[in-house]
């Protein structure tokens, strides 16, 4: 029995996507699509974004979209570590840049609401003092 099916797990960081027996699994590996039958040799590879096809023992096919990730094959088990996000080198770079920029903005003191309120209070105090001084001057003068 173990010869005709292989256990397949597709997991992502945000949850399990598929888990169950399969007759055959097709995965878009880094160097081209590969089909995995039971008793495949142990293999580790990265996968590209694309679709993973799982043929279940009852002859049906299930499709899953993966944004990339890693694939591990053991003779009786396939593990697809799927990325939830589609990542390209440029996109990662852009996201990193954005995170940096946000940090810089935060440091620069992009006035948030609390600070705005504090500044306004300070302003009001200063204005009141100024008024007081002017009043005192009038009385003296």
């Amino acid at each position: 029995m173990a010869d005709t099916t292989i256990h397949c797990d597709i997991v992502s960081a945000e949850g399990e996507i598929f888990s169950g027996p399969a007759k055959m699994v097709f995965v878009p590996a880094a160097q081209g699509e590969i089909g995995i039958a039971p008793r495949h040799a142990p293999l580790l590879t990265m996968i590209k974004s694309g679709e993973v096809r799982v043929q279940t023992p009852d002859g049906q096919e299930q499709f899953f979209f993966v944004g990339g990730g890693a694939l591990e094959i053991q003779p009786k088990k396939i593990t697809v570590l799927a990325d939830t996000a589609v990542r390209a080198k440029d996109m990662d770079e852009a996201a990193a840049l954005e995170a940096k920029q946000r940090a810089e903005e935060a440091l620069k003191g992009n006035i948030d609401k609390i600070e705005q309120a504090e500044a306004l209070a300070e302003l009001a105090r200063a204005a009141a003092q100024l008024k007081m001084i002017q009043k005192l001057r009038k009385i003296k003068g």
Partner: protein, 286 residues
């Protein structure tokens, strides 16, 4: 003696506050359950990836990935996970406190500290300190997504590769149970020795294209999944802490209403007594 009308308005205002805190408590309770589910869902990925790294480590002991090599810590990076919103008790304060302790510890050893902040409370707090902040993300919401975290994690990983930081920690609130959340410090880089488990099912893989690239990809994903776990756990903690804080607030509002009601009744009775006394006094005078 305060007027009865004033007390009545006060009671009404406290009552409406209580309604709000009660609603927030219930919302937090249901959100907490969902956050806990997400925490549970992220576990299989992390476990599987750990196994793969263990295999890779055993399979090619001659290749040492920079993420696995211990270096002289001249500067450290700390990822601080905090919430975006307040009203959740001492949760963020506790996380910041243990971050400060960690910072002081490393500064005492002569290492520089670089921060990466997740959550706007952290940004608001650490901005004043003047510690360099390499990256920050805010507005992750109740359902943090991996893709929102990738940018910041990449900044830190790049800094590690370039030698800008020699060690990377993550500080986040750890979910013990609904009543207890405590800050936890975990070392992300260098990856601490992953227990290899059973050695007997030892075989080597076929690597495509080569082991180094795969190890790189897998280790990066491992770190990312750890940061994601931290973020999700932090949300669960935030909700639990808010639930408890709002429950306490509702209870306090209840007590306050009870006390005010008592004062109100006394004031009302005093007024009636006074009026009666006046009438009786007036009748006696006639």
């Amino acid at each position: 003696m305060p007027g009865t009308k004033e007390i009545r308005t006060k009671i009404a205002s406290v009552k409406s506050t209580q309604k709000i805190t009660k609603a927030m408590e219930m919302v937090a309770a249901s959100k907490m359950r969902r956050a806990q589910d997400r925490m549970r869902l992220s576990r299989p990925y992390a476990e599987k990836i750990r196994v793969v790294i263990g295999h890779l480590n055993k399979a090619n002991p001659d290749y040492k990935h920079p993420f696995l090599v211990e270096r002289e810590p001249k500067s450290v990076g700390i990822i601080v996970v905090s919430s975006d919103r307040g009203l959740c008790g001492a949760l963020n304060t506790n996380v910041f406190k243990s971050t400060l302790m960690l910072m002081r510890e490393w500064q005492g050893k002569g290492a520089k500290v670089n921060l990466c902040l997740l959550g706007s409370k952290g940004v608001a707090f650490f901005r004043r300190l003047g510690t360099p902040i390499l990256a920050s993300v805010t507005g992750l919401g109740d359902k943090p997504h991996v893709k929102d975290l990738l940018g910041s994690v990449k900044v830190m990983l790049d800094a590690y590769r370039d030698g800008g930081i020699d060690r990377l920690f993550i500080v986040n609130a750890e979910f013990v149970n609904t009543m207890t959340q405590k800050p936890a410090v975990t070392q992300l880089l260098p990856v601490q020795t992953i227990d290899d488990g059973d050695l007997q099912d030892m075989w080597d893989y076929i690597y495509e294209p080569n082991a180094a690239d795969i190890l790189d990809g897998v280790l990066m994903r491992y770190i990312e999944s750890q940061v994601y776990r931290g973020a999700v756990e932090s949300v669960a903690c935030e909700m639990a802490a808010r639930m408890v804080a709002m429950k306490a607030a509702s209870d306090n509002a209840g007590n306050l209403i009870g006390d005010l009601q008592l004062i109100y009744n006394k004031a009302r009775q005093a007024a009636i007594t006074k009026e009666l006394a006046e009438i009786v006094g007036g009748a006696a005078a006639v």
